[in-house]
């Protein structure tokens, strides 16, 4: 599953980022890497962009970027 399918307020573990684009690299640099914990906190008007907690920081992401983030299925 992907970050776009995540249910609000549930913590997931990240499996990885799809692709080798600049965006993927930038996400990884910000800490979106395998094993990191992520949780969707809220959505903006019309559902895009989204707010997430990533580890100890808060990030705003567009759905386009969030769609690159692969999650471990919630146990």
């Amino acid at each position: 599953m992907r970050l776009t399918d995540a249910i609000n307020a549930i913590t997931y573990k990240i499996r990885g980022v799809t692709g080798a684009s600049e965006v993927a690299r930038r996400l990884a640099e910000l800490g979106v890497v395998r094993g990191a914990e992520v949780r969707v906190l809220g959505r903006s008007l019309f559902g895009d962009p989204i707010r997430v907690r990533l580890g100890e920081s808060h990030l705003a992401l567009r759905v386009a970027e969030a769609g690159l983030v692969e999650l471990e299925p919630h146990a």
Binding site: E22, L27, A28, A36, G42, S44, D48, A60
Partner: protein, 677 residues
């Protein structure tokens, strides 16, 4: 393999490969200060140097490289404040700048001798990513573990000694807002320079071309056992606040309310202060007029100096209030939230919420806003943001709007007294720029800057209590800049305009008017008035003005407005002072400088028709809302786009649009006025 150079508490061991100190006699060692955005880097810079650098709680603040000596060290050490960056892969101009600085490729800035990397203790893992990229520069590194107090409050316990050993660097816990943190940091900096041993961690650092995953694996190894959570997991205050502040409905209402409060305060809170300054200048003008002998000198003091430059200084309170609000929002951490909420709307025009931050601060001044776009990594988005930023109604336009609305627009109340007609007109002026900028951004993104939609990833920093000192520093800098500008550029332009409008002041003009007066038997008052007008028409400015009059005549302006507008090329607010000088000179010379509003109302075409009708007033405001009459903005556009093309395009296009819009306003206004009659 090298030994760890120093832990936080252990003094530097005697290295066998100890190098000679880097500093050559006469050249102060340079220490680069770097860190993630929002890591408190600029606060730390201020703490160490005592320098008042503008700090804000959003990315892209310290856009220029600040450099100042470290205070409280016996020797001279220069600290280099580099822009906040998450990594050095050089996607954004900010990151490229940091890399260039560390490699010694910046002009006027030698290669640093050591690095201080500021890391946010509450988010160590992400912050250490940047550190892993620093080992390759083979410099001594000091790690400033900033916000260690907040980390403790959130229940994080960090073993800084163990961390220092793992990283091979001195790790100094710090709280940038507390002066006690400066001592240990200074000591660590001195040590790093004296020992000059490149920092190397005990376990070899990630290779130069390591992937982010490999770097994070290394960081996880280094952090193993270093961070312990003694308290509860964080559901922070920021998170709770964001549930409301970024809520799709409540968040938008809050954003609107914030805008409304800023707008309202500029026009209501500033009024008493402005009246006070205005009164002061009125008194000064009378007093000075009495002191100076009549003629050119008195005219210069009362009309040029006090009537002109004083007319601009009245607006100081509004500029201070506006900057205070922008600084407050930045310091609080609200800007990133506004960016989050505005992202969807910005997308329509091919931009992201990230562009919203410089555009919002452009309402105070476009120059820092344009420099702030360096945090935008997408080149096309950055250029479009730079080109539309000057359309946001900056503080220099306020004097123009306020002068003209106060002189010409009646204060008819609306909505039960909540806002009057003047307020509505001002609001309209603020909206004009937006209405024009939006389609221009859309157009640019489909033509010159066509490209895939940029990505939007923005850190939402924790809310922080605004620090009065930081806000005061911003107000001080803005106020000082404004007063200095009034005392230099505005004064110089004004002096020139006054001289051109006063001289040659020839006796022939007087003789000619006297002849007509005798022939048509004018009274003294009529004579004085006609004489002043004739002097001005015959002045150098008057001759130039009549040459350019055909350019502004279609808008319904007389040559005096035309010249005042042209003379305001250096800065928009200059127009207020030049109008003051021109209309005061054109008025009865024997009277003390009248309030500018009155002078404008009294201005007449040769036939006796008033010059400043409501359509003409509105057209002047619309012109200034859209024009590029600001040399600083044009220079900074040139610097930031690295080309002469864009400032020229900006100037030509904005002037053309301003003229067109002013013409439309004036023509439409004329039709409406005629219909009402």
């Amino acid at each position: 393999m090298a030994l760890p150079s120093a832990g936080s508490s252990s003094p530097a061991p005697n290295h066998s490969h100890r190098l000679t100190p880097v500093s050559i006699e006469g050249k102060a060692p340079i220490v680069a200060l770097i860190g993630n955005p929002n890591s408190g880097k600029s606060s730390l810079f201020n703490l160490l140097t005592g320098f008042r650098r503008h700090v804000a709680n959003y990315p892209g603040v310290s856009v220029d490289v600040g450099r100042a000596p470290v205070r409280g060290i016996a020797r001279r050490v220069e600290l280099l404040d580099l822009p906040g960056s998450y990594s050095l892969t050089a996607l954004s101009p900010d990151e490229a700048l940091v890399r260039d600085a560390l490699e010694g490729r910046l002009a006027h800035t030698p290669k640093p001798d050591a690095i201080v990397v500021v890391v946010d203790a509450t988010n160590l893992r992400r912050n250490l990513f940047l550190l892993t990229e620093l080992y390759e520069f083979h410099l001594p590194i000091v790690v400033a573990l900033n916000m260690s107090d907040i980390a403790r409050a959130r229940g994080l316990s960090i073993d800084d000694r163990l961390l220092g050993e793992r990283l091979g660097a001195a790790v100094v816990p710090a709280v940038a807002t507390r002066s006690a943190s400066a001592g240990p940091l200074r000591a660590a900096i001195e040590q790093a320079i004296d020992h000059a041993a490149p920092t190397e961690p005990p376990s070899s650092p990630p290779a130069r071309n390591a992937s982010p995953e490999q770097r994070y694996d290394w960081i996880d190894g280094a952090l193993d056992g270093v961070v312990k959570r003694v308290g509860h997991s964080l559901s922070t205050h920021s998170e709770r606040a964001d549930r409301i502040v970024t809520h799709p409905l409540w968040g938008c209402l809050i954003l609107l309310a914030v805008m409304f409060v800023i707008f309202q305060s500029i026009f209501t809170w500033a009024a008493p202060l402005m009246d006070f300054i205005d009164g002061g200048f009125g008194w000064l003008s009378q007093a000075a007029g009495g002191l100076a002998p009549a003629g050119a000198w008195r005219s210069f003091v009362t009309d040029g100096l006090i009537g002109g430059v004083g007319g601009v200084l009245i607006f100081l309170p509004q500029i201070l209030i506006l900057f205070a609000f922008i600084a407050l929002l930045e310091d609080l951490g609200y800007m990133a939230r506004a960016a989050f909420m505005m992202d969807r709307a910005m997308r329509v025009f091919g931009l992201t919420g990230r562009a919203f931050i410089p555009l919002l601060s452009s309402y105070a001044c476009a120059v820092p806003a344009i420099m702030g776009t360096r945090a935008i990594s997408d080149r096309r988005e950055r250029f479009v943001t730079i080109l539309i930023a000057p359309f946001m109604s900056c503080s220099a336009r306020l004097p123009v709007y306020v002068l003209i609305t106060a002189a010409l627009i009646p204060a008819t109340p609306f909505l039960g007294g909540w806002i009057d007609l003047r307020g509505l007109v001002l609001l309209a002026m603020y909206i004009v720029g937006l209405v024009v900028a939006a389609p221009i951004a859309w157009l640019l993104r489909r033509t010159a800057f066509r490209g895939p939609p940029p990505s939007f990833m923005l850190e939402l920093p924790s809310y922080k209590w605004p620090r009065p000192r930081a806000i005061w520093a911003r107000m001080w800098a803005a106020g000082r800049g404004f007063v200095v500008r009034a005392g230099t550029i505005i004064l110089a332009v004004n002096l020139m305009v006054w001289a051109l409008a006063y001289f040659p002041h020839s006796p022939e003009t007087r003789a000619r008017v006297e002849a007509t007066a005798t022939a048509e038997s004018w009274d003294a008052e009529r004579f004085d008035h006609e004489l002043a007008g004739a002097y001005q028409r015959d002045s150098y400015l008057g001759r130039m003005g009549r040459t350019i009059e055909p350019l502004v005549r279609p808008i319904g302006w007389d040559w005096r407005i035309g010249m005042a507008v042209i003379a305001s090329f250096p800065a928009r607010e200059v127009v207020v002072s030049t109008l003051g000088t021109i209309y005061n000179l054109g008025a009865n010379e024997n009277e003390a400088s009248a309030p500018l509003q009155q002078a404008l109302k009294d201005a007449r075409w040769p036939g006796g028709r008033p010059v400043f009708t409501i359509p003409v007033g509105l057209s002047i405001m619309v012109f200034f809302a859209l024009c590029a009459q600001c040399s600083s903005t044009l220079v900074v556009i040139g610097r930031e786009t690295q080309s002469w093309l864009w400032p020229i395009v900006s100037f030509v296009a904005m002037t053309a649009m301003a003229w067109m819009a002013a013409w439309m306003t004036s023509t439409l206004g004329g039709v409406v006025t005629a219909a009402i009659r």
